[in-house]
Structures are given as structure tokens and as C-alpha cells.
């Protein structure tokens, strides 16, 4: 290889590498800048929320999510502020915001996840048929999130959503499938978390929905060995069939607000 050519290549590589390094640095810089901006918006949102200015808080949460769309917690706290306001307009604003975010960031699973939750959050303020439509739309977005990332949270969330559909709609087997997958994923994790009990609770409830209370109890009893202090399991196992049915019928009443606050995911981390 002629020297001058080698030199050109070396110079070229050198130049390419320099540009690449520069771009990487810039990207990192941008990321850091975005992360900083997101964090400061998030903090401003929390501050506004704590002082009772929820509408101001929504502005800041949205800014935080625009900077860091995959941040599940930012999305979660944004939605919880919307739930606190509990006005149709705020739910619609939240849905519209995540809709826009999904068009801008089609491949980010947590954006889809929060989008789905935004629909779930709106259910209690709507009429019975609209509730069905909202719940069904949410399922679609939870599925989208799962397509992008197979996760415990994804399967638990979607499984739990299927679970709220009365058995007549034939979606309970799908709940079982997802909740079993969530359990399998949690069992693979090195550290067991307290919230990993949730799919067990749900799985038992799914079998109750299919009128197999014996199977439900078996699941809860087995889970109680792994989570002996869990109150949800204890409560369900302490009831006779009649009391259990009364309790779960009320629990699954369509239109009742479902707690979609995911802060438990981070609280345990901080402890």
C-alpha cells in the first residue's frame, strides 16, 4: 500500500474517529443535558404538586417526560397528579400527551405503558360502555409495550387488566397466561421483591373468576410460603367461599378506581 494512501487512510480514520468521538461526546452531553433538564422539571413538578398547584405540576411533569420519555416514574407521578385532579379534562390532557409522545417515540416501551395506564386512570369518570372502550384500548397499549420489551411489569400489568374483565368476555384465560409469565420472570430474578406477590394474588383471582376456588386457594397458599407476611394473601385465605365471593365481586366492580400507582417499584429500592 502506498504510503501516501496509507496516510490518507490513517488521516481519514483519524478524522472519522475524531468525529465519532466528538459525536459520542456530544450525544452523551446531550443526554446528560436532557437528563438534567428532565430531573429539574421533575423536581419542579413535585414541588408544585406538594404546594397544591397540580396544574402547574402537570406542565412540569410533561416537560420532564418530553426530555426523558422512557422514565416510568416520571410518567407514573404525572398520572398520579392527574388522578388527584380527577377531572375529565385532565384525563383527556394526559391521554393526549402520551398519544403525542408515542408518535414521537414509537419504540420506547414505558411510553406505551404509561399511555395504557392513562386510559385505565380515566375509567372511573366515564360511563359503562366508555369504560369498556378505555379498558380495551389500554390493553392494546400494554401489548405494544410488551412487544418492545418482555418484562415482569408488562405481563403483570396486562394480566391484571384482563382480570378486570368479567368472565363472560372470555379474557380470564389471557389473564392467567400473562400472570403466569410474570411469576416465571419474577422467579428468575436474583432478588425477590415484595411486589412480586401481586401476580400470585391475581392468578388466584383469575381462577376464582373461572369458578375454581380450590385452585385459587392452592395458588395463594403456595404464594404464602414465599410471601408469608403478605396481607392480601392472608385476607383471601382467611375467607370462606361466600365471603371471598362477596369481597372479590366488590373488588372487581367495573368502574371502580384501580390503583395504578407504581411507586412501590421504587420505594423498596430506596429502603
Amino acid at each position: 500500500m502506498p504510503t501516501h494512501l496509507t496516510r490518507i487512510i490513517i488521516v481519514g480514520v483519524d478524522s472519522f474517529m475524531k468525529r465519532l468521538i466528538l459525536m459520542c461526546l456530544l450525544l452523551v452531553g446531550f443526554d446528560v443535558a436532557y437528563a438534567d433538564r428532565a430531573k429539574s422539571s421533575f423536581e419542579a413538578a413535585n414541588k408544585a404538586r406538594d404546594t397544591g398547584d397540580l396544574l402547574q405540576a402537570l406542565d412540569h411533569y410533561e416537560a420532564a417526560l418530553n426530555s426523558e420519555p422512557n422514565n416510568l416514574k416520571y410518567g407514573n407521578d404525572y398520572r398520579q397528579a392527574v388522578v388527584q385532579i380527577n377531572q375529565v379534562e385532565s384525563y383527556e390532557r394526559c391521554i393526549a400527551f402520551f398519544e403525542k409522545l408515542t408518535t414521537q417515540h414509537t419504540k420506547i416501551p414505558n411510553v406505551w405503558m404509561n399511555f395504557g395506564y392513562a386510559y385505565v386512570d380515566k375509567i372511573p369518570v366515564e360511563g359503562a360502555i366508555t369504560q369498556v372502550l378505555l379498558a380495551n384500548t389500554a390493553l392494546g397499549y400494554f401489548s405494544k409495550a410488551l412487544e418492545l420489551e418482555d418484562s415482569w411489569l408488562g405481563h403483570y400489568t396486562r394480566g391484571n387488566s384482563y382480570l378486570y374483565w368479567p368472565a363472560i368476555f372470555g379474557r380470564t384465560p389471557l389473564a392467567i397466561e400473562d400472570l403466569e409469565k410474570a411469576i416465571a420472570l419474577s422467579e428468575k430474578e436474583k432478588k425477590s421483591r415484595s411486589f412480586h406477590v401481586r401476580p400470585y394474588v391475581g392468578l388466584g383471582e383469575a381462577h376464582w373468576r373461572l369458578d375454581d376456588v380450590t385452585k385459587a386457594r392452592e395458588i395463594w397458599k403456595s404464594a404464602a410460603k414465599r410471601f408469608p407476611d403478605n396481607e392480601d394473601l392472608k385476607k383471601r385465605l382467611s375467607m370462606d367461599d361466600e365471603a371471598l365471593t362477596a369481597f372479590l365481586t366488590t373488588h372487581f366492580e367495573p368502574g371502580k378506581r384501580v390503583n395504578t400507582d407504581l411507586n412501590i417499584l421504587w420505594e423498596e429500592e430506596q429502603q
Binding site: 366515564e126 360511563g127 359503562a128 360502555i129 368479567p166 368472565a167 363472560i168 368476555f169 367495573p254
Partner: protein
């Protein structure tokens, strides 16, 4: 707020618990024996496009109207059918709990024309001649039969005066009530319309179904007709829907109820709407039959599937409460609404607290004191379509969740075939426990059939002091339940006759004091889905035998207190009171 109200009624209930505990409701079903068992037929749409869907949406029409058309002192029955050519039945009460069908003989059995479906009926004396006239509400133009009274031989005849009376407007009418909105002494008419005014039997557009299943705004709303003197000197009706303040209501009306909800002496209106918000209107009291909509402040905006309106004072606080049925089933838990009247123009739904929330897929429901213990109970019928085992709901769900589906398009809906939809549901009887709650006793009372109930007509058909129930069912046989309660209480039956006020004293309020909480009843004309109950007033007194006072507020606003000397004779009998003259018999 709810707790305070419940504590109040609980405290008063302690006084009455013994009386209530002694009695038990019981009924005997005697429709066949009485000769009033008919199988209703909903309209079939033949080979029309989407015939099954249209039939499914016009599934009402099994209606009953109670009224004493021949003034013999026994309430008669008019039973509506809906399929093409099917006759209605005017069942003359023979006075011994048997009835004779005189519908064809008197010429009032038709109306199910090729392009019209009969859906409701109402007895009301529109011309104040003392003879009850008959209005048939149709998906079409209404039919008004004038009762000509008895001829020389005592035979009654009816004349079709629909056109002459001005009732020529097409509507898909499913509910009819009459009351004197302007206190001019004549009964005005309100028609509740389900679909917008498109003839379903001659469909020009497929977009006739609700445009939203929770907030529909493309229904038939209501029309309101003022009773006026016509050029020929006879009485007729003029459409004043706009002037009266009802023109903006375009919901899917399923039922109407009238009563004095704010105790100002004027008749107010509650409209139960399917696929969305019920509406409440207070009479302005200006004598012009104009109303203010008070929905937002009085009850708020709901998204439920309102089916029935009835009014009664379930807790004896002197204010009319309202019972509305909705849909409560495995797949949809709307809960009924028992609107407790707060006495300040607002109402609070206490159906859960009172135990009257769940009647499955609700239809008609009526307040009445079936055991004469002094407290109004509630009878509610239910069930949409009892057919074969496959369930329509999952099929319907697939349509509902189809992206961008047009709910208003008949083509969007899958055929139902022989599938069941909210079928085989047990009728409910709620016994008022006098403590602000009710206990469901349908099975013990022997009224818990699982037919597809629609309308209810309540009356004391044999004048024995015990209320009976006539129940209509869609595409199934009707039922007549004779009241046979155990340890029933004392009672008072009153037939009011207006002189200055409208002849049947519709809208009159009677307050009876027996030393405890007052009992109030208002004469209503058509409250309750697909049913008109007797216009006579029935009061259970429990163990009380002494009446301290009876006050009548006539529809014209004047109050009359019966002389003390007349009160003793009222207990355990049916009495007639003429405005300004007191008890005449």
C-alpha cells in the same frame, strides 16, 4: 351527608320496626284464572334489512294501563301488544277478580298498523267529562280514543279523535304521562320518544341508533302538549315543547315521571334516558306550563341507562323521592338510583345504602305499600331477553371495541339469533323496613319469576284493601299477582274527583296524619315504565286505626282539610272525595 341522612331515618325507623316486622308480603298469581293472561309479541321486521337488530332495539311495548273506564268502582286493564295486527285487550273488571275482554267490541284494540308499533297506553280524562279517555303511544302517530260514556243502555263507546285533537305528529313514543302543568284544570300531555322521528318500519337511513352508548344525543327526546280549546269547541292539544323548555332534550327517553318534587304545589318532571343523562325539570309556577332544567344542580349528569321513573315518599319525610332503574349485571354494574329528596332542590342517590341498587337489567319499578304497614315498598321487574344458552354479550363486545365503529348504524350490530341477553333474571320485591332500608323478599312474596318483565300496573282490583300487581313481559305471558299479605295493616283508599281542578285530580297531594310521621301520596297519571297504575290513592296505616287529619292539596293549589267528623269512616274502605265537598261516600 349520606351518614347524616341514614342516621335520621334509622332513628325514626326504631318507632316502626315492630309494625313492619309483623307483616309479610305474599302474592298469588292468578292471571289465567282471572282471564287476563296474554302473550305479548314484539314487532317483527320481516325481511327488512337488519330486521333482528331493529327488533332488538324496539323490544319494549309490553305495556299496561290501569283505569276505571266505566266508572263502576273497579279498576280495569288495558293491555298493549306490539306486533303487526295484534290486538290490544281492554279487560273490563267484573268485580270478582275476573275480567272480560271488551277491546274489540269497544273498538280500541287496533293500532299495530303495518307502519306503526304500539308501545304504551294511558287512561286520562282529557275533556273532564268524567269518563276516562285512552291514549295509545306508538312508534308512529298517537291514537286518542275519546270515551263517549255510557249510552242509553249503559254500553260504553269510544271514538278515535286523534286527528281532531291535534295529535298528528309522528314520534317513536314509548312513554306517556298526563298532568296539569299550568293549573288551568285540564290535563296536558307529555310524550317520551325513544328514537328520533324516523319510521323504523320504513327506514330511510341506517343511522338511527344511539350515536354514543353513554352520552347519546340523537334520540327522540320528549314532546309536550298543552290541553287547549279547539275551534270546534272540543278539547285538543297544542305542541308547546319549545315554549315549555323541553326542546333541547334530545336523549333516548324511556320513561317519564311527574310529581311535586320541590313542594311548591306545581308538578315537576323527571325524564329517564337510555344511553345517557336523565333530566329533571322544575315547573316555573308561572301558569304558562314552562319549566327550568335543574339536572345539573339537582342530580348531576349521569351516563346510565335510565329505564323507569316512579315517585314516592319512601322515608315519610314529606318529600317525594324518585326511583330509577338502570342496568346492573355481570358485565355492567350501573346500579339503580334511589334519589333521596334533600328538600332543598337537590337529591342524593341512596340506592346502595337502601339496598335497592341491584335489580339486574331493570325495567318498571313501582312504589306501593303492599302490606299496609305504612311504608312504601318497591316492586321491580327486569330481564331483557331470555332465550338459548349462548350469550349475546361477548358478540356485542366485539362490535363495541371495533375501532371507529359507528354505533348509530344498524349495520354495525351483529344479529342476536336465539342468543340470550340479560335473561332469566328474578324480579325483585323490596320490603321497606321503615329504617331507611329495604329487604329483598321476592321469593318469599312469590313474585320472583324470571320472565322478561317490562311494565307494571298496580291497583286494588277487588277493592279488598290489598294492592295487586299486573306485570307485562316481552314476548311472554302477563301475570296478575293478587295481594295476600300476612298480618297486613289498616288502610285507606281514596278516589279524588276534581271540580275546579282536572276531573281525576291528577297532581293532587293527600297528607294523612295518624300521630306519627305523615303519609303523603300524589295522584299520578302514567309514572313507571310501560305501565299506568291506579289513580286512586292507597295508604297503609299499619296498626293505626285513628286518623288525626287529612289534608288535600288539589291540583289548582287550593288546600282542603277534611272535617274531623269524616275521618273515622275512612279507615279500611275506599272513599270518594269531591273537590270542595269532602267525602261523598
Amino acid at each position: 351527608m349520606i351518614r347524616i341522612i341514614m342516621m335520621g331515618v334509622l332513628a325514626s325507623g326504631i318507632l316502626y320496626a315492630d309494625v313492619v316486622a309483623q307483616s309479610a308480603m305474599k302474592f298469588e298469581e292468578i292471571a289465567e284464572k282471572a282471564g287476563v293472561q296474554f302473550v305479548h309479541s314484539t314487532r317483527k321486521f320481516g325481511d327488512r334489512h337488519k330486521a333482528e337488530v331493529l327488533q332488538m332495539f324496539t323490544d319494549g311495548g309490553a305495556a299496561v294501563a290501569v283505569g276505571d273506564y266505566n266508572a263502576d268502582g273497579f279498576d280495569d286493564l288495558f293491555v298493549v301488544d306490539s306486533d303487526e295486527g295484534k290486538p290490544h285487550h281492554l279487560m273490563r273488571n267484573n268485580g270478582d277478580l275476573t275480567f272480560t275482554d271488551v277491546g274489540q267490541e269497544l273498538g280500541v284494540s287496533s293500532g299495530n298498523d303495518p307502519l306503526a308499533i304500539c308501545a304504551d297506553a294511558l287512561w286520562f280524562d282529557y275533556n273532564n267529562d268524567g269518563h276516562l279517555d285512552l291514549l295509545i303511544g306508538r312508534f308512529g302517530t298517537p291514537i286518542l280514543y275519546r270515551n263517549n260514556g255510557p249510552d242509553k243502555e249503559g254500553a260504553y263507546t269510544f271514538s278515535d279523535v286523534s286527528k281532531k285533537s291535534g295529535l298528528t305528529q309522528f314520534g317513536n313514543t314509548i312513554a306517556v304521562i298526563a298532568f296539569d302543568a299550568d293549573r288551568d284544570g285540564w290535563l296536558d300531555l307529555m310524550l317520551g320518544n325513544y328514537f328520533k322521528p324516523e319510521n323504523l318500519l320504513d327506514l330511510k337511513t341506517p343511522h338511527v341508533l344511539p350515536n354514543n352508548l353513554d352520552y347519546a344525543t340523537n334520540g327522540g327526546g320528549v314532546t309536550f302538549w298543552r290541553n287547549v280549546a279547539m275551534e270546534n269547541g272540543r278539547r285538543g292539544f297544542k305542541d308547546i315543547t319549545d315554549e315549555a323548555g323541553f326542546i333541547h332534550h334530545t336523549g333516548w327517553t324511556l320513561d317519564l315521571g311527574h310529581g311535586d318534587l320541590n313542594n311548591d304545589g306545581w308538578q315537576d318532571v323527571y325524564i329517564a334516558g337510555d344511553y345517557g343523562t336523565d333530566r329533571m325539570f322544575f315547573n316555573k309556577g308561572d301558569g304558562k306550563a314552562t319549566f327550568d332544567e335543574v339536572t345539573e344542580t339537582a342530580i348531576g349528569f349521569d351516563t346510565r341507562k335510565g329505564m323507569n321513573v316512579d315517585m314516592g315518599d319512601y322515608n315519610r319525610d314529606g318529600w317525594l323521592d324518585i326511583y330509577v332503574t338502570n342496568i346492573t349485571d355481570e358485565y355492567m354494574k350501573e346500579c339503580n338510583m334511589l334519589w333521596h329528596n334533600n328538600g332543598d332542590g337537590t337529591f342524593i342517590d341512596l340506592s346502595r345504602e337502601t339496598g335497592t341498587c341491584d335489580t339486574d337489567w331493570g325495567w318498571a319499578a313501582k312504589f306501593a305499600d303492599f302490606d299496609n304497614d305504612g311504608w312504601e315498598d318497591l316492586f321491580a321487574v327486569n330481564g331483557l331477553r331470555s332465550a338459548e344458552k349462548p350469550n349475546y354479550i361477548p358478540v356485542l363486545l366485539e362490535m363495541i371495541i371495533t375501532p371507529n365503529v359507528d354505533f348509530s348504524d344498524v349495520n354495525s350490530y351483529p344479529d342476536i339469533g336465539n342468543m340470550t341477553w340479560s335473561g332469566y333474571q328474578k324480579q325483585r320485591m323490596f320490603h321497606n323496613l321503615a329504617d331507611g332500608t329495604f329487604k329483598e323478599v321476592g321469593a318469599e312474596a312469590l313474585v320472583d319469576t324470571d320472565l322478561d318483565g317490562r311494565g307494571v300496573g298496580i291497583a286494588d282490583f277487588d277493592n279488598d284493601g290489598l294492592l295487586d300487581i299486573y306485570q307485562t313481559n316481552a314476548n311472554q305471558q302477563t301475570l296478575l299477582f293478587r295481594g295476600t299479605p300476612i298480618n297486613s295493616g289498616n288502610w285507606v283508599g281514596l278516589k279524588l274527583i276534581g271540580k275546579v281542578s282536572n276531573r281525576d285530580a291528577v297532581g293532587a297531594r293527600v297528607t294523612i296524619n295518624t300521630g306519627s310521621d305523615p303519609l303523603i301520596r300524589e295522584v299520578n297519571c302514567g309514572n313507571g315504565y310501560a305501565g299506568q297504575s291506579s289513580m286512586r290513592l292507597h295508604f297503609g296505616l299499619g296498626n293505626d286505626k285513628t286518623i288525626e287529619s287529612v289534608e288535600i292539596r288539589w291540583p289548582n293549589g287550593k288546600t282542603e282539610t277534611l272535617p274531623h267528623s269524616q275521618l273515622g269512616a275512612l279507615v279500611n274502605k275506599m272513599s270518594v272525595i269531591i273537590e270542595g265537598k269532602g267525602v261523598i261516600r
